[in-house]
Every structure is written in C-alpha cells, then in structure tokens.
Subunit: 339 residues, 2 copies
C-alpha cells in the first residue's frame, strides 16, 4: 500500500549552520518541498545581508535537492519601516523569541510591552509579514505555554491585521485560542503529536525526546491530535526538527531539541492511518494549510510512502533522530521533484 504526498512543507525548521547545516540539510531537503528556516543562529539573523548569505549557505548544503528555504528574520523591536520594506522580499516571516527561553534566544524580547513593539508590528502588519512566536513565559515548565496565551491574545487584539503564528504548540489552551482570534494560527510538530511528558520522564529519562516546549499532558496531546488530524485550517505542520550533536544530548546537562526531519513524514502517515484520518487531511496539514496561511505556492514534489517497516538509523551524520533504532511502519519509497 502506498501513499502519495504532494509538496510537503515544514513550516518550522532548524537547519543550523556550518558543519551541522551540511550534515543535516539534506534530511529535510530530500523529502520536503520547502521549509520555514528559523533564524536563531549565533549571532541571530537580523539583517538583509545575513538572510541572503544564510540562504546561499543552505542552498549550497542541500546540493541537488529541490527545496525552497523560506527565510525568516530574528525579531527586534527596533526594526524600522525602511529596513522592513527593503528586506520583505527576502523573508517569509519574522520570528520572535522571548529572551533566553530556548536555544540561542538570548537576544530576544523581554516583557511584552505593546507600545514598545507597536512600531515594528504595525509595519509588519502593513507589509503583510507574519509574526512567528515561540510562546513561553519563564514560569514553571509545565505552565509556560498556557501562561503565554494571554500574551498571544494581547498581541492578536492589538494588531488585528497581523498574522500571528503560535509556534510548536503543545497545550489545549493554545488550541482553544485558535478559534477565539481570527489572526492566530499555529504550527504543530510531529513529536508533540506522538509523546507526552511520560515518554520523556515517565520511565527512564529520554534526552532525545527532551525539547522546548516540553511535551505536556495526555489531554494536551489529544487536543493537538484533534486539530492536526482534522486539518484545522489554521494549523500547519512545523517539525521544529532541531539537531544537536550526540554528546550535547547525552551528558549531565542535555540540550533541548528533537531531530525528526528524516522521519517526520513517515510517522505522520502512521498516525493519520492509525487514527483513521484521511489522506486529504494529511495533505492539508502538511502543505495546503501552510500555502493558504502564508500565501505561498510550494514547488512541485511528489513523495511516495509505502507501508513497509523501517528501522530508524541510530544516527544521521552524528545526530541521533527520534525513534533511533526503533521500527516505524512507513518508509519513503521514492521522491519525484518537478511537475
């Protein structure tokens, strides 16, 4: 039995830089038609020159694969109109990080004073540049995202024409917020559809499943599944695939991030089948919704999956993926780029 996905998009992707970029870019570029590239390098991407140069490095790393890197800027509240106009052609969105909340986010926003953000956000609104947000407070780890919902709501109310994407949502509170504000959207990862905190810390501690936001409660995962499996039109797939070297995951202080790029489509196919969701819903979740939300047109790519057990490798170029050495039930059979 085979399953064809058209032009899958990964609307939240960490490709890193330098050696790591070279090691992992093809894992996404092989099966995805494009991805929204996170700007949290060291230092973060904050100028047009950096956007253009990073895009070139990505294109070089993916080599002959057909893959569109949708570029982003790291949000700063002092971006002015002239700058945003000049960069708008090069980017698909701007990503806002609360300061210090995750990997390489030290230069992010502290506090969410609407007036301090107004200039930049109104210009983004005018220019039609979506705002992607890593929505966590610095509260207790299980409460951070739910606490941030009130900030999402404050921003959504203050800037009603600004498209705000709640990134990698993990809670029922975020899912519920989607339907309260017209201009709130969301990405959902593959791993948050699969795991809860039980998988991270309920048996042995599993560093390769440790991510930010941390996986939450069973009822949260249920809410995420309901939104993804029904292809809620304001929800799209974003893997948040985030590679770290193995030693940074297996040590006395493990870095946050799950590397799912090479297996995301297979495990989504498995989940949608298991939960009796249709192929059309998967297609919308993996591409159609993102095209509508971002107003983009993914390049043609046809990914043929087949229901055939696949043992996930222990490593991809030194990076341990989710489900390493476990068997998943779908495999990539072939990929065709172009019409």
């Amino acid at each position: 039995m085979s399953l064809i996905l058209h032009s899958p998009l990964d609307m939240h992707l960490h490709l890193r830089d330098e050696k790591m970029l070279e090691n992992i870019a093809q894992a996404s570029a092989h099966t995805f038609a494009g991805g929204l590239i996170m700007p949290n390098l060291v230092p973060p991407i904050t100028s047009k020159e950096e956007v253009v140069a990073y895009k070139q490095r990505i294109l070089k790393a993916i080599g002959k694969e057909q893959f569109t890197p949708y570029m982003t800027l790291f949000f700063k509240s002092d971006y002015d109109k002239a700058f945003l106009e000049s960069v708008s052609e090069e980017i698909t969105a701007i990503k806002l990080y609360p300061a210090g909340i995750t990997t390489n986010s030290e230069g992010g926003v502290s506090g969410f004073d609407i007036e301090a953000l107004r200039g930049t956000l109104e210009t983004m609104s005018e220019l039609g540049i979506p705002l992607c947000i890593h929505g966590e407070t610095n509260g207790f780890v299980m409460d951070r995202e739910a606490e941030f919902v009130s900030i999402y709501e404050k921003l959504a109310s203050a800037f009603p024409k600004l498209k705000i994407i709640m990134e990698h949502i993990t809670t029922k509170e975020s899912v519920e917020a989607l339907d309260r504000f017209e201009n709130l959207y969301a990405t959902i990862t593959a791993h948050h559809l699969m795991i809860t905190l039980d998988d991270v810390a309920g048996g042995m501690l599993r560093p390769h499943l440790f991510c930010k936001p941390i996986a939450k409660r069973p009822e949260d995962r249920e809410a995420l599944r309901k939104a993804a499996l029904s292809a809620h039109p304001k929800v799209m797939f974003g893997s948040d695939s985030a590679p770290h070297p193995q030693h940074a995951k297996e040590s006395c202080g493990c870095a946050a991030g799950v590397f799912t790029a090479p297996i995301a489509l297979q495990i989504l196919a498995e989940l949608f089948e298991k939960e009796a969701a249709s192929q059309e819903k998967l297609q919308a979740f993996i591409c159609g919704n993102a095209e509508k939300i971002y107003g983009i047109k993914a390049q043609p790519k046809k990914v043929v999956l087949e229901k055939k057990p696949f043992k996930v490798p222990q490593r991809y170029n030194g990076v341990v993926p989710m489900y390493a050495e476990e068997e998943i039930s779908y495999s990539i059979k072939e990929v065709h780029s172009g019409q």
Copy 2:
C-alpha cells in the same frame, strides 16, 4: 559558626550490593547513625537468611564506621504469620512496591485488593511491623503520587493499627493526607525539598536530578518544606539516596535516582538556616521523629557542621552526587561516634 546534629538517621536509603555497596556505603555511614535499608536488590530481599546476609555485607562495607542498618523485607502478600514472627526481630519495616514502578520493583504488588493483602497486613499490624510504601500508580508521571493517595487512605482505613509510611512524598496531596489518618506517616528526601520539575527539565535536562517520584510543582515543594521545616511529628528524613554508575545516568535512557548521601546533612542545614527554621526542628526531622515513629533509639553520634563553603566533588567512587562541582555553604567539620 557551627551546628551540631545528634545521631542523624536516614530512614530511606539504597545501599545496593557488591561493588556499588562497597563504593558508597561509607558515604552514609560516616555521617549518619543509622538508616532504613531498602530491600530492592536483584533479586529482592524476601527471606530471613537474605536479610541477615545482606546486613552482614553492609556491616563489612562500612568497616569501622558506627552505623546501624535498619533492615527491611520486600513486601509479598503471601508472607504468613510463622514467617513474619521469625523474621520480625531482624527487620524494622517491610517495604511495598507497586509492580514495575521504580528500579528493581518488578516483583511488587499489582492492584491493591485489600482482601488479597489482608492476611499479611493484619499480621504485620499485630506484630507491630511498619509498612513502607512507594506510593505511585502507573498513571501520568505528574499525577502518579496524587492518584495513589486514595490507596493510602484505603489501606489506612482498613488497617488502622498498621503504621504506614508514605515514602519520599513529593506532593501537597500526600502532605495533606498525613493529618487525615492517624496511622499515616511520611519520609521526605533532601532533593525534593530543593528542586522542582523546573530543575530537572526547565532549562537543560539534568539526568542527575531525575528520580522517582519525579520532582513536582513549586506548590508541592512548598508543602513539603512546610512539613519538614516545622518538623511535623509524622514526618522524618529519608534521603532515598540512590546511586547509579555515571554511564547509567548520562546516556540515551537515564536511570532514576539522585545520590545525596554525602551532602544531605549539609544541604538540609543550609535550607533550615535559609528558611529560619530552628536547629531543634532540624534535629527532630533528622532523628527524633523517626525514633518516635519507629520506636527505635539511634546510636550516639555527633556531627559537627560548619558554615564554610564546600565544593561538592564531581564523583564519589564513580557516582555523581547531587550538586556535583557546585558549592554548598555547609561542610562536615567532624564526626564523633559513641557517647
């Protein structure tokens, strides 16, 4: 400034066996006057001969230190009266593990059918043998202990003369249960007084702070602190110090357990001072309450602590302790055994 503690007792201690026992026994035996020794070896301690032999191995491992190992049996519902009578002189308590809930607990109790447990528990009640319980269900990791409170209550009601010790409690629900049933008691660890889930998984993932029960929410830690710092008469110190080799903590599946034996008294002294609790309360929490609850008399030992920074070693004989390479503010100055 110095602080004298008399005959500290650790009423929940894992000393393991063989090489690990030899490596870590002295860390407890040096500063504690005695400890309640957990029976979850492989295989677990279930006979008089095993109790006696394990006690001898412990005494050999602690060498010249003056330390009383208060022995326990691994609970089985088929222990009969003749057996319990014959073993009662050798043990201080019997420890019950729900099956599969923590390290080496595979042979524990499945389900809590009062009638299936009645024979053994009534005999224990008659003989005055306390029942120590690792109280967690197999539910969601953050709910397991709170869910188990109803089982504590069922047992406490059904066997009103049986002393039941809720081991290493981590939640406000367990603290509250203490005052609802006369025959419920509790141990509290040092690490659960210090950390919440934020410390384990809120920043980097910290395998050396991963334990079962997992550290909970700030309000849970507050409830534990309130009980310990006030030396609630039904609460006593039990470290649950649980050594694992470093490689078993820093790998892709990390074992549960925090090794606190060598630093427990120092960090408790620090906490009680910081929270303005009196030395008398600390003395009751660390010894007096346990003596009353268990009806034991700790052997004389005088531990002199001083307020002097101590850098915790990276390892004690291959085992990474809590706060490894961090500085704590109290040091052990000297220890006097005997009157």
